[in-house]
Amino acid sequence: MAEHSNGRSPAGMWVFPQADQITAQVMERTTRRCKPHTIALVVAALLAALGVVGFLLRVAADGLDNYNAWGYYMAAFSFVFMVTSGAPLATAAFRFTKSHWRRPLSRVAELFAVVGVLNVLLFIPMIIVLPSIENPAFVPGMEGEMAARRSIWLGSSGLTGGPPELWDILGLVALAVTSMAILWLSLMPDLAQSRDSVSGFRRSIYGFLAGSWHGTKRQWIQHKAGMMLLGGFYFMMVVFVHFLIVSDFAMSLIPGWKDSILPPLYTIIAFQNALGLLLVILFILRKWGGYQEYIGISLFWSASKILLGLTLLWTYHLFAFFITFWYGRLEVEESILRYLMFESYAPVFWANVIFSFFVPFFILLWNPVRKTAWGPALAGLSALVGGFLFSIRIFVGSFNAVDFKEFPGELYSLGLTRARIQDAVIPDLWDIFMVVGIIGAAALVYLAAAKLFPIMSIWEVKEGAMYQRMGKLFRGEYMILAKPE
C-alpha cells in the first residue's frame, strides 16, 4: 500500500508504489486533461511568441553583425542550454552511482532532451552573430595566424580546419542526438507496455517508437548496457560542449581574459541549476501532479545533500578564480575583476552570489529542512535565479566588453584597462522579450513532451519496487535495499 511520507522517522520517508498499478496510474495521469498544465502551456506559448517578436525587432534594429546588441539573447540561451543540457546528466550520474532514490527523477530529467533540439535552433543566430576569430586589431604587430584574437582554436582556420562556429553547433547537435537517444531508449519499455492503453495520436507515436521491444532478458541487458554507455558518453560531451560555448562566447570576447577555471565554473553551476530545476519539477509533481505515491521524501533528502555540495563547490571555484586574479595585481586581471565583479556588474554579481550560494546554503544547511519537499525545491529555485544572473554577468559582460566598431587597434589588453571599464548594459524591451521568449519556448517544449510521454519512468520505478521492502532490524523499521550487482 502506498504511504505518504511526512514524518521524520526513516520509515516515513520512503514510498512503495505497487508494481502492478504503476503503468495504469502513470498513463492515466499522463493522458488526462489537466487544467493547470494547459494554462502553463498557453502561458509558455505566449511568452515564446513574445520572444519571436523581440527577436525580429532586434534584428531589424541592430542587425546580426553587431554582436554588442545580442548579449541578453546569449545570456538567456546560455542559461537555458546549461540547465537543460545538464538535466539528462542527473539520470546518467545517479544511475552510475546506483543511487536508489533516483527512480522518480529519471524520466523528468531525460525529457529535457527535447529541449536540447530547441537549443540547436536557438543557437543558430548566435553563430551568425559571433565576431570572426580573425581580427588583426586584437593583436597588433602580428601577422597571419597570430593576428587573431585569443581563442581555443588558436587562429582563424583553427587547429582543425573548420571555423569555430561549425564545431560549436556540431557539439550542440551531438548533445541533442545523444540525449534524444537516451530518451528513446529509456522510453521504449514504457511505450511498449502502455501502447494498448492509450488512443489517438499517442498510440501511433508509441507504436512507432517502441519498435520491437518485447522485454526479453537479452533486450533488458542490452538496454542497461546502452543506457550506461550513452550516459557516460553524454557526460563527457556535455562537459566538452560547455567548455566550447563558454570559451568561444565569453572568454575570447574579453581581450586578455585567460581563465582556466571558467569552463568548470560554468559546468558546476549548470549541474547545480539542473538539479535545482529537477527538484522544483518533482515538488510540483508531488504536490499537484498526483505523484505523491511515487516521489518520497528520501529523494529530496538525498538530492538536497548533492545540491548543497554543488553549491559549495561552485562557491569554491568562484573563490579560486577571484583570489588568483586578485593576488597577482596584473592590470588586465584587475580590470576584469572590476568589470565583472566589483564595479560595472557588481549588483548582478552580488545578486548572483546571494541566490547561488547564500540562499541555497542557508536553506539546505538544516537537516529538518532537507527532509521536506519544499526546502530543496526552494533552494533549487533560488539556484536557478542565481544561474540566470550568472549567465547575464558572464555573457552580457563579454558581449559588451569591447565596442567592436570603434576598436582602435592598440595592444590586446586595451579592451578593459585601469582607465577604461565599460558600464553594465541595461536590458531594453526587446532584450526582455527575447529572454522571456527563450525561457518560454523551452518550457513550452518540455510541457508538451511531458504530456506526450509519461513523466515517470515506469520501468525504473517498477524495478525499484522489486528491490525495496520495509524490514525490521532490532527495534526499528528500515528499508531493505537489494543489491543485485
Binding site: S260, A320, G471, Y478
Partner: protein
Amino acid sequence: MQEGRILTATEVNRDLLRSILDTPRWFWPVVMALGLVVLAAAIVIGVMINRGLGITNLNRPVVWGFFITNFVFWIGISHAGVMLSAILRLAKAEWRRPATRAAEVLTIFSLMTAMTMPIIHTGRPWRIMYWAFPYDFARGIWPNIRTPLIWDPSAILTYLTSSSLFVLIALIPDFAVLRDRTTGISHQVYSMLSLGWQGNPRQWKLQIISGVLLSALILPVFVSVHSIVSWDFGMAMAVKSWHSTIFAPYFVVGAVHSGVSAVAFVLILLRKAYGWQAYIRHEHIDALGRLLVVVATGWFYFFSMEVIFGIYGREADEIAVRSLQFTQWPVSAWTMVFVITTYFIPVSIWLSRYCRRNLWIMSFACISVNIGMWLERFLIIVPGLANRQVFTFSWNMYSPSIPEIIIISATFALVAMLMLLFSRAVPLVPLYDIKEGDILKTEIQVGRRAVPAVYRED
C-alpha cells in the same frame, strides 16, 4: 555486490587484531631496513643544514626542485583519507568499510612527512620556528599572512589535527576491544584511549553522530588544504605557467586520484601481509577501481583545461614553458610518460572487470598512477622555473642530486615505517565498521532469486 560470508565477532576480533597481538616474522627486519633509509636521510639533512643547500642541484632559476615536488606529492596522498572515510561514509557506500582506517592512518603519516619537506628545503630551517609561527616573538612582527607560504601551515596543521581527531574518535570502540585483551602497560594505555567505552546504546549513538559530524566538518578542510598548497604556485605571477585559476580544483582532484590509488595499493599489501583475505575482498578493490575511473577522468579534464588555457594566451613566456614541457627532450619524454602512467594505462586497466579483480594488475595500475602524479608535480614546478620569463639568458634546467634522491626515498620509507609501527598498536582495518556492515547485511526474495540486500537509513 556482497561476497564473502558473514563473520562472527570472535573471528573478526581474532583476525584483525593479529597485527597487534602477534608479530609476523618479517616485521622487524622490514622496519629495520626502512629505518636505515630514514637514518641515511637524517644524516644527509644534517650535512645539508651544516654546509648549505649547495649540496643539492638547485640553481638559479630553479630554486624549487625535488623537495617541493615531494611536499606536494605527499600532501596529495593525504587526501585519500577523507575521500574514503568521510565522503564515502556520507554517501553510504558499504564497500568503504575495510578501507577507512588504513586511509586515515596513511593521511596522518603522509601529512607529517609532507610537513618535513618545506622545513628542510628552506635556507635556515631553525629560524622558521621563531618567525613563521603565529606569534610575534621578535620585535612585534607577526608572520605575513598575505603569503600562501603561511596559509600552508595553517591548512596542513588544521587537516592534521582534524584527521588525528577523526582517527582517534573512530578508534574508541576498537581501543576498548584491545583494552579487554591486553595486560600491563598496554592495558593502561588502551584504557585511557578508549575513554571508558562500554558499548551501550547511548555511547554508540554518540559515536555514530560524531562520525557523521566529523565527516561533514572535515570536508571543507580537505578541499582547502590542497587548494592552499596549489596556491603556493597559483599566486605567483612571475611564473606564467603557474598563474592559472584552475590550480586549486586541479590539484585537489589530482590529490584524490593519487591518494586513493595509494590506499588501494596499501590495502592490497595489508591483505597479503596480515592474511586479511576475508576482510579486504576483491569487491572492495573492484569498487575502488571504479571510483578511480571517475576521479581519473575528472583529473584529466582539469589537466586539459590547464594546458589548453595555458597555451590559449599565446604569451611568449608561457609558450616557452609549454614548449619545454611538450617538445624538448628529455622533458617531453617525461611528459609523455606522465600522461600515460597517470591516465591512459590505469584507466584502461580499471575499465576491465577482470583487471580490477586481479590484485597484481591493480597494484601495477596504482603504482603507475603514483609515479605519474609525482612526475606531474615535477613537470609543473621545474619547467615553469627553468624557462621562466623571457630572459632566455637566465634559463637553466635542473636534475636531482644524490642527497635529494636519498631524502625523497626516505620519505617513502618513513611513511611505510610509521604505518607498520602503527599497525602494532592499532588495527588497520576497523573492527566495528566490519561488524556493523555484517549486521546490516541481509537477503530478500525477488522472484525466484535470493538477492543480497542491505538495511538503509535513508
